[in-house]
Symmetry: C2
Subunit: 209 residues, 2 copies
């Protein structure tokens, strides 16, 4: 085996994660067979499972990476912005599918819709798998912490309403996110959702009037 | 076969629906085998499928009935109240399971938690089954119509904020409902949710300040 640098190993690992994310998004966890994972990554099963013990380890690494990225965006831009990105990603994806671009460029591997696929699978497993629920708590807590920290900073700057405790505001935003993920996953119309997100954003801000 | 009145037929049909609702809530759609449906209704498969063509027809009848009931509650009390009932139902159910009441009374067949089970199955099938999505649109539209009508009445009474169109407010409430269903189904903590629902209710009301 040729010697490769740490950078090359990390790049290869990331390449597998990106391909797997597309594969899980397109086929769901059950449908992402080893054969499909080979196709979406362009690598052999031997190469893939050199980096990840099994399909479950691959999915968990992916979900953890997505959760961390999401917490980063939340820390910088807030949870409402995450929701706006999600909405934009869905529309871009719908345009891709409506067009005649069957041979056009592949969707952006970091696009929000592939993230949606992972997120849905996480939701499903949280419902059905108590072990997974326990293991996932740390990542869920990371998002909650990022959401709260950002809200605390906004509160300190006088930008937030002060009649509702920050943990309640954080829970509120997370509940709306969960509803949005569910709504988009069901393929329901997204027309009125910009106005809804404006309303959500406004309802955590300094009192109107 | 003995002659039975229309009332008796309707009562028998409802008895099957109630038993099936508990069965779907406890075991999910796939897990609700014919044998389990017999146990939960106390009737033979012959009797059950005399009233409903197959398991799918039974599930659809159930989901339709739940959707209609929900639209009725929305029309009278509003979607936020539906969410509060759902939250109360979840807590009552948690108490039942924490207690020593293994031989105690069975949970209320019309309790909100059995409704949650049906609702989750509807969500899952909306995601995975395009035919179902199309057939379900009429019921989904019924809830939206009930929500909008109630909001229109509240708006006419001057109880609603007037800077956001009613369809956006309706969509907002439905999105929060979807998030709540998802949250409860994942078994996540419900402590802060009363405060969240207060915030949701307040954010559709006449402008503060």
């Amino acid at each position: 085996m040729p010697r490769v640098s740490t950078d090359q190993l990390a790049a290869r690992r990331q390449h597998i994660l990106d391909g797997a994310r597309r594969c899980f998004a397109a086929h769901g966890y059950e449908g992402a067979t080893v054969r499909r994972l080979e196709q979406s990554t362009g690598l052999s099963r031997g190469a893939i499972f050199h980096y990840f013990r099994d399909k479950d380890a691959l999915f968990l690494a992916l979900a953890e990476q997505d959760a961390r990225r999401m917490a980063d965006v939340v820390a910088e831009q807030g949870l409402v912005q995450v929701m706006r990105n999600l909405l934009d990603g869905t529309r871009a994806d719908a345009r891709d599918h409506d067009g005649v671009a069957a041979t056009g460029p592949a969707p952006d591997p970091d696009g929000d819709l592939s993230w949606l696929g992972t997120r849905l699978e996480v939701s499903r497993r949280l419902r059905t798998d108590p072990d997974f629920r326990e293991r996932w708590q740390a990542h869920s807590a990371e998002l909650t912490a990022a959401t709260r920290e950002r809200l605390e900073r906004q509160a300190a700057a006088g930008a937030l309403r002060d009649d509702v405790p920050v943990p309640v505001l954080a829970q509120y935003l997370e509940l709306v996110l969960e509803g949005l993920v569910s709504h988009l996953a069901m393929g329901l119309p997204a027309d009125a959702l910009d106005g809804v997100l404006d309303l959500v954003e406004q309802s955590v801000r300094t009192l109107r009037g």
